[in-house]
Subunit: 328 residues, 2 copies
């Protein structure tokens, strides 16, 4: 295993300390590294909290700040945060408007967020993201997995919360965005969890995993590596089919899993864009880069969110976080 680390047990805390130091104008760390919170809270605003296993950076800590999350709870690599972390985050950022948890649909995350909700004193609601069309149930989840579309939910609900929308309305909006969102990922390589010390899975020199999860979980099938054009076609077909007859204006997010160069991501964007437009989608907003990663895995995912005028306005609203920033 070749990584920039010291002791395995210190990887997460040292990384979080560095993150908080580099972005001290935006965030601060909770006690015992339980959460990353927004430095300046807004009184009465709905507190937006997400979290999950680490190793997907910038998700979620990189999305804490004005117009997006109020706190993020980082578990160990690919391991759910504890109920204790989530409850502490809620206590820190609930300024009277209640707390909305945005939870990716994995068994551990769902269970721990439920326990945290029981511990909470104020009003608590939850949005579950399950945008991955690859598999209907997986080794990690009952039902579909929450993947890169979670970013879109966090951005749009974050804008609404910033504008003063109430807890129930933020929850309903989050459900609506999740339902308007579909993703599919492809992996060319595995990744190595520091504590494991060896790759999560084996993959041949001429193979790819179609429909991979963001922890390297198996997808739909192990297939021979194809051209970018052929891969894009299959990704777009999987997503388009899942949308049924729904088409129209959309956001296209081409997300890198960590080990794929920007050149290839933009090449894939070019190809995916054409495929989705051929299907009848009109791409009105785009995002390309490493946003929901799997450590150093080579691969990428496509996410489409169908947008109406309200969702476009909320997507465009100012955001000031470590990883997404515009309008401020």
């Amino acid at each position: 295993m070749k990584k920039f680390i010291n002791r395995i047990d210190d990887v997460l805390t040292e990384s979080l300390t560095g993150f908080a130091a580099a972005h001290g104008d935006i965030v601060q760390l909770g006690a015992e590294h339980k959460f990353i919170r927004r430095r300046e809270l807004k009184r009465g605003k709905v507190g937006l909290i997400s979290g999950g296993g680490s190793g997907h950076e910038p998700l979620h800590g990189g999305f804490v700040g004005h117009g997006m999350l109020d706190a993020a709870c980082p578990g160990q690599v690919f391991t759910s945060p504890t109920p204790d972390q989530m409850a502490a985050a809620a206590q820190a950022v609930d300024t009277g408007g209640g707390v909305l948890y945005i939870v990716k649909n994995y068994e551990g995350d769902v269970m721990n967020f439920e326990m945290a909700a029981e511990l909470a004193e104020g009003k608590v609601a939850r949005v579950l993201t399950d945008d991955d069309v690859a598999v209907e149930k997986s080794t990690w989840s009952i039902g579909r997995r929450g993947v890169a579309g979670t970013l879109v939910v966090e951005k749009i609900v974050g804008a609404a919360a910033e504008q003063g929308r109430a807890l129930d309305a933020c929850g309903a909006l989050g459900e609506r965005v999740n339902q308007a969102t579909r993703s599919l990922g492809v992996a060319l390589s595995s990744c190595t969890i520091p504590a494991a010390g060896k790759p999560t899975f084996q993959i041949g020199d001429a193979e790819m995993e179609f429909g991979v999860g963001i922890h390297g979980e198996p997808g739909r099938r192990r297939v021979p590596l194809a051209s970018a054009r052929e891969i894009s076609l299959q990704m777009a077909e999987a997503i388009g089919t899942d949308f049924g007859a729904q088409r129209g204006a959309c956001l296209l997010l081409v997300n890198g899993f960590g080990g794929t160069p920007a050149m290839e991501l933009y090449l894939m964007y070019d190809s995916l864009r054409m495929q989705f437009e051929k299907q009848g989608f009109s791409i009105v907003r785009s995002l390309v880069g490493n946003y929901v990663t799997s450590l150093e895995m080579a691969g990428c995912s496509a996410t489409v969110t169908r947008l109406d005028d309200e969702l476009v306005r909320l997507w465009d609203a100012p955001v000031h976080t470590a990883a997404l920033r515009w309008g401020v």
Copy 2:
């Protein structure tokens, strides 16, 4: 070679087409993909142009836009752009204020930019970046190599040009920023140029290249992989020594080469920050991420730029590009 590509010959143009489509609000492509230019030019402003081999994205195309570059000329992967490209870019963005080329110090780039300058009709000046302290001359350069510090030169001179500073003054500022900047990189893995189809160099499972260049060129020494703390110490020593007695306020850029996860970059930032502060630097600005990459190479570099109040103001000035954005 596992990459998201179609024909090798089309990698660059397809990637550029995707980039221009994803960021159509900021940039547009020149004819025959010769350059990426800023969509809105400012009459009479000094035109800032950079370029170099592709494979370092987001450098340089990701830095085209308000407050930074007016154009970027992408060569093939790790190959200098042609004089023809640079001359075409100058013609496109010179609105009367003359053109300043920011050139990384590699033989091919320097020669081709000189030929482009001869072709130019308007006033032309040049800033050469050579911030890499690793080696005094390399397989690719006479004198030190230009690496991640180039980003800092582009950002600061870009802000000055945006504020109306004249050509000579922008050139002098660029020289000053370059002289205030030092970098050093470490690689844990190689990278694969699409046209080569195999890794640029071989490296053992327990080795790292200390002082590596951004094309995978050899550095100071091939050494056993050490802890993040030990690596940071050595990187900071190399940079600090090169600064002689100069200390004070600085920017610290921890740059990923493409294949290293954000978790590790922030862990390295945490460690490097402590090392530089121990040396007497005061880190007043920070940037952490994949900005000057070497395709999918695992590794990172540290860059320190000594900042006075003027440079801090110019660093903080609004920028709106694909890869750096704040204040707008």
